[in-house]
């Protein structure tokens, strides 16, 4: 427990001290991460069940995805995770400028991720590899396989939900950039940055699974 008797302005009235507030926020964030994991979890269950029923359909359909774009996105996202971690490291070390640079870098990487995703999606839309009833691609690789639309449904829902998280993360990072620049976040109080960081690493962590599940196996 910290012993400073003065109460800084970011300390809310119902907490005793700064440390209690920080630890509470972190616990809340991890409880939220738990719900995030289980939200994606439902989709993982759908993936596992349908894969166990129709392995040859999954193997056939995943050949239609572009491994290079997926690999590129993985690298982009891991890099952004690193820059996010470094942004927190920098602010802990009282280096505001480096922290800002790292946050902006994270934001840009997130944007690149979405651009690559967009290119991937638009190609799928063109050739008719759409989810559900809108599926119309009957190319020679897939015409003999039953129900590939289910693979694409799961693919679009999971990567779409993940993409949504990337977009939300970008909004949060933009807010961090603003607050850090204004000096609201500093080496004494960087709780929001730590929280967004955890969220951002979760986004990375989920992609670490999505990439092999859809593109590789």
């Amino acid at each position: 427990m910290s012993n400073d008797k003065s109460s800084p302005k970011f300390l809310q009235h119902h907490f005793h001290d700064v440390n209690q507030q920080y630890e509470t926020a972190k616990l809340g964030m991890w409880a939220f991460i738990l719900t995030e994991v289980l939200t994606f979890g439902g989709l993982f269950v759908a993936y596992v069940v349908f894969r166990s029923w129709y392995p040859e359909m999954f193997v056939g359909a995943n050949l239609l995805l572009d491994v290079n774009k997926g690999l590129l996105n993985t690298i982009v996202l891991i890099t952004s995770s690193l820059t996010m971690a470094l942004a927190i490291w920098a602010i802990q070390k009282k280096n505001k400028k480096l922290s800002l640079i790292m946050l902006v870098a994270t934001f840009i990487f997130a944007f690149i991720f979405l651009v690559i995703k967009y290119l991937e999606y638009s190609h799928k839309f063109e050739v008719g590899q759409l989810p559900g009833e809108y599926y119309s691609y009957m190319g020679p690789e897939i015409a003999h396989i039953n129900n590939p639309h289910i693979f694409f449904s799961i693919y679009f829902i999971m990567t779409g939900l993940h993409g949504l998280h990337v977009a939300i993360g970008m909004g949060l990072i933009a807010w961090l950039i603003y607050s850090t620049a204004k000096g609201n976040l500093n080496s004494d109080y960087y709780t929001p940055m730590e929280m967004v960081g955890i969220f951002w690493h979760l986004v990375d962590l989920i992609w670490i699974y999505l990439f092999p599940l859809f593109y590789l196996i």
Binding site: G28, T39, G42, I150, S153, I154, I157
Partner: protein, 540 residues
């Protein structure tokens, strides 16, 4: 005492905006209470309408479509808008920080956001009702829910949003219990209501995300035909049932665990006796919460799931029963060598023990696969879950409401009327739902708007008593609200029942806007009736 009441959370600060934008957990709890009870009464009226229709076999008042809409709305309103948010959202919000000696919950703004998410979800539900209803049942089983022309979408959006409200409340409570306790209030000194809310919150944050994603998949199935749940597109309706019940079975424990908590508070206080088996009750709360995640398949015994999982689910189901049984015995033994007073909360608690025991025991019938095949989707199931949900949760909720009413509002209600209503609820409830066990055994299926003439006698009997049940509940609420009138000078004092937890011993009724005028210091455990005498401040 008069000096202490100069400031309380009800009157300070004033103005509509001070309520709508309040961060005070007590006010948010009160807003939950009011909206929850309104929905409870709406859901109850719908139920009475259905019982009226079922009093005689044919389509007497309403058509099949209307009946299907009514039973769907009854289920959806009662579950999503009342029972799930009511006890954690209302009583939990008001009491949790008080019991911990905290000034507020961990994240007050999140708490308000959660209330507004609940309201937004409720708006969608009300929109569904106004625009013609939804007829899929609250379970939204596919493929009917992907084909039905009724308003499935607004209702699923409502459920989705309310799910997030529930998650945020749970998350908030977990952080509160872990981090906001006053020094010295260790885990084993927590009131059992706090343990119950903690277990509930764990279930809320773990199970609710799955219903959220299930609702999203259901909506996408309607919009895009994604083929995960719709058999015409290669999906599997039984998989939908797995998704749905992975949430909805644990949700049963979101509904019943807080009720266990309330009973664990009422019985020791009104028996003036240390609770029997504190640690057992505390741990069984957590173990029930956990085992509740492993048994969802017993809702699917006739769905055509694999024989292997039938056996596994039946086996695990019985492990929920044993800790629950020991809890019931613990509550009863709490009265041993105590000083029991028959106050309205205590009457509700005793009636809970009676009704919930029936509800629990009939669950044993349904857990045996071979027998469940006969009873599945029959009125036996209807009676069983009403004994658990209404006879358990709602009776405990009414008891809790009567128990903490003087604390929340600083006014005492009329005990005689409250006692009569408690007996009325007990009799009306048994009269309504006991015949339904027999109906189910004889093969009457549920969700029927009309029925065979062989069932008429029991149905009309059930309908008759449902009127008495409805009236009793209605007058119980009227009696409570009536106590709030200005001319009521029946002052309960700070601690009308002589209880030992912080919300009674360290703050005024109604409490101070910041809960405690000065930081409370823990003097004794929550149930130390063998060590300290706390005089009740109210004598009839």
């Amino acid at each position: 005492m008069g000096d202490n009441q100069k400031q309380n959370y009800l009157t300070h600060p004033k103005g509509l905006m001070s309520w709508l934008l309040t961060l005070d957990h007590k006010r948010i709890g009160l807003m939950y209470l009011v909206s929850g009870v309104i929905f409870f009464l709406i859901g109850g009226l719908i139920a009475l309408g259905m019982r009226l229709e079922l009093a005689a076999p044919g389509n007497d008042f309403i058509s099949n479509e209307t009946y299907n809409n009514m039973y769907t709305l009854h289920g959806a309103i009662m579950i999503f808008l009342f029972i799930i948010p009511a006890i954690p959202g209302a009583l939990g919000n008001i009491l949790l920080p008080l019991m911990l000696g905290a000034k507020d919950v961990a994240f007050p703004r999140l708490n308000l956001a959660s209330f507004y998410l609940y309201s937004l979800g409720a708006v969608f539900a009300v929109y569904t009702i106004i625009s013609g209803g939804v007829d899929t049942g609250w379970t939204f089983y596919t493929p009917y829910s992907t084909q039905s022309t009724s308003n499935v979408i607004p209702m699923t959006i409502g459920v989705f949003i309310i799910g997030f409200s529930s998650i945020l409340t749970g998350l908030n409570f977990i952080a509160t219990v872990h981090k906001m306790r006053i020094p010295g209030l260790t885990w084993y000194k927590l009131p059992l209501f706090v343990w119950a809310l903690y277990g509930t919150s764990l279930v809320q944050i773990t199970a609710t995300p799955v219903i959220a994603i299930t609702m999203v998949l259901l909506m996408l199935e309607r919009f895009l035909g994604i083929g995960i749940f719709d058999p015409a597109l290669g999906g599997d309706p039984v998989l939908y049932q797995h998704f749905f019940w992975f949430y909805s079975h644990p949700a049963v424990y979101i509904m019943i665990l807080p009720a266990f908590g309330i009973i664990s508070e009422i019985i020791p206080v009104h028996s003036r006796k240390k609770i029997w088996g504190y640690k057992f009750i505390a741990y069984s709360t957590l173990s029930i919460a956990f085992i509740g995640f492993l048994v969802w398949g017993h809702h699917m015994f006739t769905s055509g799931q694999s024989v292997f999982s039938q056996i596994v689910f039946s086996f695990i189901t019985y492990f929920v029963g044993i800790p629950t049984g020991v809890k019931i015995f613990s509550w009863i033994l709490t009265m041993y060598k105590g000083q029991v007073s028959f106050t309205p909360p205590m009457l509700y608690a005793l009636s809970f023990l009676f009704l919930f025991t029936i509800g629990g025991l009939t669950g044993i019938f349904l857990g045996a696969v071979a027998l469940d095949i006969h009873l599945h989707d029959s009125y036996f199931v209807v009676a069983h879950f009403h004994y658990v949900m209404q006879g358990g949760t709602i009776v405990a909720f009414l008891g809790g409401l009567h128990h903490w009413w003087p604390k929340s509002f600083g006014k005492m209600y009329n005990h005689t009327i409250a006692n009569i209503c408690a007996v009325g609820v007990f009799l009306g409830f048994n009269g309504t739902f006991f015949p339904q066990f027999l109906l189910g055994l004889r093969g009457m299926p549920r969700r029927y708007a009309t029925y065979d003439s062989q069932f008429v006698e029991l149905h009309s009997y059930s309908s008759f008593w449902s009127g008495i049940l409805g009236l009793s509940i209605f007058f119980a609420f009227i009696n409570l609200v009536w106590s709030l009138r200005k001319s009521n000078t029946d002052d309960p004092g700070t601690n009308p029942w002589g209880a030992m937890t912080l919300e009674w011993t360290h703050t005024t009724s109604p409490p101070h806007p910041h809960n405690f005028e000065k930081d409370p210091i823990l003097e004794h455990g929550p149930y130390d009736y063998d060590k300290v005498i706390v005089e009740p401040t109210y004598k009839k």
